[in-house]
């Protein structure tokens, strides 16, 4: 082999980074460095792709847009009009989402210059926060379970039970605020914990798969909800409908800016903030959270390191369920103040949205905050879009789903944007498979 002189070896280079002027090379290197492996960039691009996907849906389903394109079959001169109509429709839909969920710039300018109409101007952002608050809490609960390698599909049912328990404490006891509100919050947590403990114990001691148990448990809770709102102690007195008692003013989470402002955003945001801090401490700073993460990442190593796997499962389900229950209570205590038979059913099922929110937020507390705000904004703004442009609210759900799809397939996103993987980058999945 030694007879092969190095000079004979064909030299070639296919490193694109080495080409082009210095500035281009630098930018390209920076681009690669900051984009290739950062999950935040992937999430942001997934959101962007979701919006693009939504735009395509709007363009291909809105009758006005389709009519404009159909006209170019009669004469090609209709093309510029068709393009304009397309962009107008997409633009007005997204503008409606934005002004309906964040702020209307015109109204904002008006309020700023005249000092009037602030409540109206702030209503959209207030609504977004109102919807995001319980979503943050329940999603963090789901995210903590995910980080431990556990699927809590039953967060919605836990939130329902938490809501019922909290609303019961809030409506059937009569105490001063300083006692009543904490007791109500604890009632919500306790209800969710109770509901989460059962799947946890079953998983830890019998091996029953938590996905099946928690999923099925949701239906049990819905049945209990209907029973509760129609049964004597909890049903609204003098009502025959499926409505529960109204909570005492001493037990509710009052609006931040007073009842007169009409803004619904409540003191619940502080509860959510406390949960975020708690989750950050738990996952990043506590030795218990360290055990959780070790268990989630490698159960065999967890066992060899002396971590009691059964205890971890039960404790995680208590925490996850407790947070879900708290979220359900916050939902009631900051909006309707009573529970009805449709509580958290169907589209309102924040416990199910939480699964996708946790995924989008990569199970990290702050990531979940951003993801919740985004999902809440799409939901709230979508309603405004439906009202002002006639495009159905379901589009918001389509966009949410598309975003989750893109987040779940980082390889696809990287391919679309031609992001190169860093040498040591490994695909990190936010969740694990069912196998464990």
């Amino acid at each position: 082999m030694s007879e092969i002189a190095p000079a004979e070896i064909p030299q070639g280079s296919n490193e694109p980074v080495d080409e082009g002027p210095v500035w281009a090379r630098r930018t390209s290197a920076l681009w690669v460095r900051y984009t290739s492996s950062s999950p935040i960039v992937i999430a942001a691009l997934a959101v962007f792709l979701g919006l693009v996907f939504g735009a395509i849906i709007i363009a291909t389903t809105t009758p006005a847009v389709l009519d404009a394109w159909r006209s170019i079959f009669h004469h090609w001169s209709g093309l510029p009009v068709a393009i304009k109509v397309t962009f107008d429709n997409v633009g007005s839909a997204y503008r409606a989402i934005f002004t309906g969920s964040v702020v209307d710039p015109q109204g904002f300018w008006h309020s700023l210059t005249t000092g009037k109409g602030w409540p109206n101007t702030l209503t959209p952002i207030s609504e977004t926060f109102t919807y995001a608050t319980p979503l943050v809490i329940v999603s963090i609960g789901v995210g903590i379970a995910f980080q431990t390698g556990l699927f809590n599909i039953g967060a919605n049912g836990q939130a329902v039970i938490g809501g019922i328990a909290g609303a019961a404490v809030g409506s059937m006891l009569h105490l001063p605020t300083i006692l009543h509100l904490p007791l109500t919050l604890l009632g919500g947590i306790a209800g969710g914990m109770l509901c989460g403990a059962l799947p946890g114990v079953l998983k830890a001691y019998t091996g029953a798969h938590e996905v099946i148990v928690t999923l099925m448990f949701n239906y049990v809770t819905y049945a209990f909800l209907l029973y509760a709102v129609l049964s004597t102690p909890f049903q609204q007195p003098g009502q025959s409908n499926d409505i529960g008692r109204t909570m005492d003013p001493s037990a509710i989470l009052a609006p931040l800016f007073g009842t007169k402002s009409g803004l619904r955003v409540s003191y619940g945001v502080f509860v959510a903030a406390a949960v975020v801090v708690f989750a950050w401490w738990l996952l990043d700073r506590s030795s218990m959270g360290f055990d959780f993460r070790v268990t989630g990442a490698n159960p065999a190593a967890a066992r060899a390191s002396g971590i009691n796997g059964r205890r971890v499962i039960v404790v995680v389900f208590l925490i996850s369920g407790g947070l879900a229950g708290l979220a359900g209570l916050v939902q009631v205590a900051s909006t309707t103040h009573y529970i009805d038979g449709g509580f958290l059913i169907g589209n309102a099922g924040i416990g199910f949205t939480a699964i996708t929110v946790a995924l989008l937020g990569r199970n990290r507390p702050m990531g979940i905050v951003w993801a919740s705000l985004l999902f809440a904004a799409l939901g709230v703004g979508g309603r405004n879009m439906q009202a002002s442009t006639g495009i159905p609210l379901d589009l918001a759900t389509v966009i949410q789903s598309a975003i989750v799809l893109f987040v779940a397939t980082p390889v696809l996103v990287k391919e679309i944007f031609r992001l190169r993987a860093a040498p040591t980058a490994t695909v990190q999945l936010a969740t694990k498979g069912w196998g464990s």
Partner: protein, 504 residues
């Protein structure tokens, strides 16, 4: 088939895994590719098998430049690969696995099992690869499964066989059988590219040895070269292959095991009434062919497997039925057999892995809150003291080479002030440099007056480390001998003969 690689270069980002590698394999030749873990052997083979595209260089088959773009093309060109981890379907028979993807067909698209079976019989006879075509893979021992992989490659008319670390999973007897197969294949004119980091095997079988280090060819050697010459080529410095120990001066008994009975996962008796003592300042090496109860014995010692009967006593304290946590806290250190499964969390940082089983202990935590400064300080100190090669203490453990991953575990256990070390296959799959390092750490631990039980299926390791050697066979200790005993006698004990018969 004559195969030539010319100037193969493969980069991953800024890291060059293969740098201008050239080598030539002649027909009927056994060509050994020797290198440490992470030297770039597997990358080169993946390039050759079409799984990776080289950035530079070319592959010549019988003197003709032949680009290989995917593994299907490699197979068509007559290149067969036997991976370190077998690619077999466990519930299928040998015949089904061999024809998988290339099934001979009868009418109505039915698989012609008779033709498949006949084909395998013929190949088996031709190359002396005895295996029952109707046996189900999961019932076969590892050595036979490997034969099926080789048969599979041969059934595709492979002229060049790539064997990637084929001996890593085999018992000594199976290794001998594999060597015979390799010789008969070479005699039949097949070329073999044999990838390994084990010096003894290279010397035993290779016609030509190419040594690579850091992705470059650093030299070629004849099989007559001494082991220490090869080792120093591999690691780039002189390596001490024997361990220097201070004189054997055992103290009191530290660990006493009495009549221990432990079951395996299937509920069968794996450890059948084992008794032994280990004293302070002593290494008891536990030899034996794998699967004779060593794994279950170790798991029982560290609390990971329930003890049916018998007792374990550590410094006078009964630790028979402790949980893993309590066993760790009682002063047992454990270096698990499967380091990636039981010893590390690969996705977590080196720093976190260094406190994996002491996250709650001072100074790493106070009242449930972790002290990350102490964790970091601990990591920096251990990375320095134990020479763990990592880009950062925050890097995930998965980014480390196998040897450095093991150093993380060794550092964690030995820095924990343990009374007794239990190490299982501590140097399996490690390169010579890391082996030397790990052995030195064990001996220092012993010289400080601590007891150790070191389980290994490598006889060299057992002989180098052990102050006394216990041999395990079918769940029992067939004998405890001193390290001057000949290899042959220990071999007899490993085969189940008792000390009287073995004459020691």
């Amino acid at each position: 088939m004559q195969l030539e690689l010319r100037g193969i270069t493969k980069r991953f980002g800024s890291f060059t895994a293969n740098d201008q590698i050239s080598l030539k394999v002649e027909p009927g030749q056994i060509h050994s590719l020797l290198g440490e873990n992470g030297a770039g052997k597997s990358t080169l083979m993946n390039v050759l098998f079409g799984l990776l595209r080289p950035d530079e260089g070319e592959i010549l088959i019988d003197g003709v430049v032949t680009p290989i773009n995917d593994s299907g093309e490699a197979v068509r060109r007559g290149i067969g690969m036997v991976h370190q981890h077998f690619m077999l379907v466990p519930v299928f028979t040998v015949a089904e696995n061999v024809v998988l993807g290339f099934e001979p067909k009868k009418s109505f698209d039915r698989i012609d099992y008779r033709a498949a079976t006949e084909d395998i019989r013929r190949l088996s006879q031709e190359f002396h690869l005895e295996v029952d075509p109707d046996a189900v893979i999961e019932n076969l021992p590892v050595g036979l499964q490997q034969r099926v992989e080789i048969l599979k490659a041969l059934s595709h008319d492979a002229e060049l066989l790539i064997l990637d670390e084929p001996t890593a999973v085999l018992t000594p007897q199976e290794i001998d059988a594999l060597m015979d197969i390799m010789r008969s294949l070479a005699a039949a004119g097949k070329s073999i590219l044999f990838i390994t980091h084990k010096l003894k095997e290279v010397k035993a079988i290779a016609d030509v040895i190419t040594v690579i280090r850091h992705g470059q060819v650093v030299g070629t050697a004849e099989p007559s070269a001494s082991e220490s010459e090869l080792a120093s080529l591999m690691v780039g410095r002189d390596v001490q292959l024997t361990v220097t120990k201070s004189t054997y001066d055992p103290g009191d008994e530290v660990l006493e095991v009495r009549d221990l009975v432990v079951l395996d996962d299937r509920g069968l008796v794996a450890v059948n009434g084992v008794s032994f003592d280990v004293r302070a300042g002593e290494v008891l090496a536990l030899a034996g062919v794998q699967g004779n109860g060593q794994t279950e014995l170790v798991e029982a010692l560290v609390g990971m497997r329930p003890v049916v009967s018998g007792s374990i006593t550590l410094k006078g304290r009964d630790i028979t039925h402790l949980s893993p946590r309590d066993a760790l806290d009682a002063g047992l250190g454990h270096i698990p057999e499967d380091r990636q499964r039981d010893g590390l969390v690969l996705s977590m940082s080196v720093a976190d892995n260094l406190v994996l089983n002491t996250p709650r202990r001072a100074p790493f935590a106070r009242r449930g809150t972790r002290n990350l400064a102490a964790v970091k300080e601990n990591a920096q100190r251990l990375v320095r003291e134990f020479d763990i090669r990592t880009t950062s203490i925050e890097a995930p453990a998965s980014s480390l080479s196998g040897g450095n991953q093991q150093k993380v575990i060794v550092a964690r256990e030995l820095s924990r002030n343990i009374e007794f070390l239990v190490a299982s296959q501590p140097t399996r799959g490690l390169d010579v440099g890391s082996i030397e390092y790990v052995h030195r750490q064990f001996i220092e631990h012993r010289n400080r007056g601590n007891g150790s039980l070191i389980v290994s299926s490598e006889l060299d390791e057992v002989l180098a480390l052990g102050d006394r050697i216990a041999v395990m066979f079918e769940g029992r200790i067939s004998g405890i001998v001193d390290p001057t005993t000949s290899r042959e006698d220990i071999g007899l004990l490993m085969a189940g003969h008792t000390t009287e018969v073995a004459g020691v």
